[in-house]
Every structure is written in C-alpha cells, then in structure tokens.
C-alpha cells in the first residue's frame, strides 16, 4: 500500500481542484490512510485467478443483458432553453457563462 502523506493529499486536491485548509488536509490524510488500508483486502485476491475475469464497467453487461443498453441515432434534437439554463449561473447573460479573466 502506498504511504498516504500530506504531500499526496495536497497533490490529489490540486488534481481535483479542491481548495483545502491545512487542518482539512491533515484530517483527510488520516482518513485516506485508514480507508486504503481497508481496501488492501482487494490486493489479497489471487491476481492470476482474476486476470481472466473481465472488468465490469456497466452493471448489466456480460450477463446476457447487453440488449438492455442501447445507443440512439446521433441526430440533433431540441435541448433545454439557453436563457433558462443561464438563469442558474452565478454570472451569466447575453448567451454566455462569465468567468474570471483567463488571459492576462
């Protein structure tokens, strides 16, 4: 199991765009360590035995239930009203979502 350090937690927080206080980072480091320790049980499974098992990415696939999931024709259809959707934005209008300046 990898060592869960403050640095690892800070790196994960940066990757997931989460601003955390020092106190939160310390607490979450402990939490993650305990949870990953528990998840080690997965590593005790005989890998050779399960390499032949296909990973499940959809609860019904590989169970003879493939027909349950389907793709629709890729055709344009009317969506929700743009102005209505923009009403929910913290800063929006004129057909746009507004964000802080990206370029200097």
């Amino acid at each position: 199991m990898p060592k869960v350090t403050l640095d690892l937690v800070r790196k994960l927080a940066a990757l997931s765009h989460l601003s955390l206080t020092d106190e939160e980072c310390a607490g979450l480091t402990q939490d993650l360590e305990r949870i990953l320790e528990y998840a080690e049980s997965l590593q005790t499974l005989d890998t050779a035995d399960i390499e032949s098992v296909e990973p499940t990415s959809h609860a019904l696939l590989g169970k003879g239930l493939e027909g349950e999931a389907r793709l629709r024709a890729d055709e344009p259809r009317p969506g929700l009203d743009r102005e209505r959707l923009l009403e929910g934005a913290p800063d929006g209008g004129d057909g746009l979502f507004k964000v802080p300046r990206v370029l200097p």
Binding site: S16, I35, G67, E68, G88, P100
Partner: protein, 485 residues
C-alpha cells in the same frame, strides 16, 4: 381514520372513486408535515402551495382523464429534479439552484396524477448512511429522536414512517433506499439497474445509481414502481424491457419459489436481534410455502472495498461539474482555476471531499490497475456469485443492515465504520440486481429491523410477491412509531 393514516393503496382507491378529493388529501398531509416535521426534520422543502394548486387542478379533471395515481401525495428526495423547485442534493454547492426541468420519474408520476408534497433531506450527494452529511439539517428517526434515520434517503424514509407521506422516492447507490427503510421500519425497493430512468437525478456514481420507492407495504412500492419504470430516450442505460404490473404480480402464489441465505457472509458485527429476525423471516417464508436452500457468495467479503473504490472514482468524475461556472455556489477569486478550487472547497462537505480525493487517487496513473481495474474485476466476480446462486434460488435473503438505528453522532467522525453499515446492501448494487427491504421485527429497544430479498435482474415482481406474502402474514409494518402518534 384521518387521511394521513391511510396507505397509498387505500388513498388511491378512495381518490379513484371520488370518496375523497385530492385537495383534502394533500391538505391533510401538509398540515401533518407542518405539525410534526419540526421535531423530525424529514423535509428540506415542503411544497405546500404547488401541491395544493396541483391537487385542485386534479380535482377538476373529468373521471376518464384521471391517472392511476390520481391525487396520491408523494415525497421526493432532494436529489431528484422537480421543475421550478430548488434541488440542493443536500449540498451548499447547489444552494439556491432551481431545476429548469423535471426528472423522468417525476414526469411519469405527474402524468399518473401524483402530487409532489415536498423535497426530503439526504446525505450530501447521497454519500452517507445516516443523513448526517446533509449540509442543511438533522433528520431524526421517528422511533427514537436520538437515533439516525439511516441514509442517504433518510428524509423520505422518516417521512413515510412518521405518516407524513404515504410514499416517497429515494435513490440507492449502495443501499441508500433500503438501509433507511430498514432503520425506519418501512419498505424500500431498489430496482434493477436500468429499470428506472436516471434522467434528472443528480449523478453520484452512474453505474450504480437507481431511483426507487419507499412505502409502507410491498404493494404500495409496486404501485409506484410500475409508474416510474420503463425506457427513456433521455437515459441510454434505461431498459426497453416491458414493465410488468407489479401490483398485480404480488398477488401470485409464492409456493414453488426458492430462497437462500448466504450464511458465509453473515460474519461478525451483526447484532443478535438482527440475526434472530432473519431466521424468523426465513421460517415465516417457509411456512408460506417458500423452499429454503443453501447458497454462498464467496466474493462478497470484498464487496465494501470494491464498492468504495468504484463509487469514489465515479463520484470524483461526476462531481467535476461543480466548478462555480454553470450553477450553484461561486466564491469570488482572481483567476479561473482559483475560483473553481475556492468554490469547490467552500461548497463541498467533508465526506464529499474525502470521496473526491479517494476517487482521484484510485484513478491516477500508477494506482489505476491496482485499485480501479482490480475492483472492476472483483465486481464481475460478485456478479458471477449471484448468477450461480440464482441457478438454485429465486432470491437471496439477507439482513438489510447489520444493526438497528444507531445514535446520532455515533459514526459521523469515523468514515470507515459508516461504510461498514452498507455491508449487506452494496452487493445488489455491484451486481445490478433488484432488492427489497421490509420490516421483520424489533430489537429490545423497540427499534425496527429490516431484512431484504435480492432477486434476479428485472424480477422485481418475484421479490415484491414474497415481501407482500410476508407482510400479509405479519404485523411488523403496522406498528406506528411513537413520534407519529
């Protein structure tokens, strides 16, 4: 008898004959919510005005235009979108957000004539087993106000148990319908993955999430499921299989059905009273003519580890959308990335942050194969275990929760102990199978105990039939919690 005391089925029948009106029904329940919910905290947002207006419109409909749930009031977990109403998902990050459209399940309930009573409390983004992770309020267990109602659909379960609604909608990713139903002494049904459209459900873990009913009886749960189930062009994972009339299927004989208890996973940590209730339920089913068989689920001992790797991965990806740009909370900051990180840091609670970090970890380069991919393979093994069991039996019988309702605060500082509360429910989510929890006894402190039947994919009718037969022969579901008096 007051209208709020009636089950969904009796309300529906009286509303259909015109013996009672939709308006007096809605009024009776809204007055009850007003009087009782202060001490319970089940509702985040009662929708009194829109419910009464809707009920009056329904009352004016000619008889031949009335739907199968004409005038029936329903409570909705606040993670399912209702057009024009706030949807918070229990999170500060969505505070103030108003849904611009309704979930397909809500549209179908509306077309059937149902009245939405209000939005109920939940753990933030449905992440939790006690409803204590709500950013807004505490929900109490109607059987004992110092205990949790379970979660994450704790608001809907408490509302149904306290007779504030004849039925509610919940969502179940790892047990979030069944576990609170068990802890509150009501029925909770997680449908097969794909049975109910997820369109309009705020996503947590998309290969697990399902919407389903919470009610007092298996029959009432079936009456709601047959309305909300079915194919939806807006959700490509919704099944095109025809939807049976569950409320008719439940009346069929249970003799010839077979049930198995996988004793190999009833390890330590299960309360004695829960094991006794399980055995009592098995004996009762046997008395009713159900054959008992031996089954085993050998891979299920890895279920919790497997589940928390996969759902956190899916959650970290799904929750990337809360970035302070399109909806919800924005924390002012100078640059774009700073604004996003600050908004997410301020808007998400501790458990959500924990899961985003864990999900980011298991998906990151170097750890992906050891955690995420491995868990996906273990998920397949658990699916195989069920397939093997279903060659011998029609359903698997398990406790819903290893314990009855625990005290508020008992696990809120210990995430792992909270995760262990899901030990018996998550297997059905990993396999995508349907499962129904129903009341099967009380512990010595008078707290309700639930057991669950897990069935084959798309065989909700079979497990509801057995739960209905059990409820027809027992009185556990008729007990009313003290708070509901």
């Amino acid at each position: 008898m007051s209208l709020w005391e009636l089950s969904l089925r009796s309300l529906r029948d009286r509303l259909a004959t015109g013996e009672i009106t939709a308006e007096e029904t809605a009024r009776s329940l809204l007055e009850r919510i007003e009087a009782k919910d202060g001490g319970l905290g089940a509702f985040l947002l009662p929708l009194a005005d829109s419910a009464l207006e809707r009920a009056r419109t329904l009352d004016r409909l000619p008889r031949n235009e009335r739907g199968p749930l004409h005038g029936v009031p329903i409570a909705v977990k606040d993670i399912i979108s209702v057009e024009g109403s706030r949807t918070t998902a229990g999170s500060r990050i969505l505070e103030g957000y108003v849904s611009p459209y309704s979930a397909t399940a809500i549209e179908r309930l509306a077309d059937a004539g149902a009245v939405i009573l209000g939005k109920t409390n939940l753990d933030e983004f449905a992440m939790g087993s006690s409803t204590e992770n709500s950013a807004f309020q505490t929900t109490r267990n109607p059987w004992n106000p110092d205990r949790v109602p379970g979660g994450s659909s704790g608001g809907s379960a408490a509302a149904v148990a306290a007779r504030l609604a004849p039925a509610g909608l919940g969502t179940d990713t790892g047990g979030s319908i069944r576990q609170p139903a068990a802890l509150c002494g009501v029925v909770g049904l997680k449908p097969t993955y794909g049975r109910v459209s997820r369109y309009g459900l705020v996503a947590f873990a998309s290969s697990f999430d399902q919407i389903g009913p919470i009610a007092r009886t298996a029959e009432d749960a079936g009456l709601v499921l047959e309305i909300i189930a079915g194919a939806d062009p807006k959700d490509s994972t919704s099944s095109t299989r025809p939807v049976p009339r569950y409320s008719e299927e439940i009346a069929r004989d249970v003799r010839s059905l077979r049930v198995g208890i996988p004793r190999d996973i009833l390890g330590q940590g299960v309360e004695e009273s829960v094991l006794e209730a399980l055995d009592r339920a098995a004996r009762k089913l046997a008395e009713l003519g159900v054959a008992l068989e031996e089954v085993s689920l050998p891979a299920a001992k890895h279920a919790i580890a497997c589940y928390y790797v996969l759902v956190t991965a899916e959650a970290s990806s799904n929750l990337a959308r809360y970035d302070g740009v399109r909806y919800g909370l924005r924390t002012r900051s100078s640059g774009l990335h700073e604004m996003m990180s600050a908004s997410r840091g301020a808007g998400f609670g501790r458990e959500v942050k924990r899961r985003i970090l864990l999900g980011t970890f298991v998906l990151s380069a170097g750890y992906y194969e050891a955690y995420y991919e491995k868990a996906q393979r273990v998920r397949s093994l658990i699916g195989r275990d069920f397939a093997r069991a279903f060659e011998r039996v029609d359903a698997v019988l398990l406790p819903t929760s290893p314990e009855t309702a625990f005290p508020l605060g008992a696990k809120s500082e210990d995430p792992l102990s909270m995760y262990l509360a899901d030990v018996f429910t998550i297997t059905a989510n990993l396999a995508g199978t349907p499962a129904v929890s129903f009341p099967a006894g009380f512990d010595t402190a008078g707290l309700p105990i639930g057991v669950q039947l897990i069935g084959r994919h798309f065989e909700e009718g079979t497990i509801l039939r057995m739960a209905h037969a059990f409820q027809s022969a027992t009185d556990y579901h008729r007990s009313v919690p003290p708070m509901a008096g």
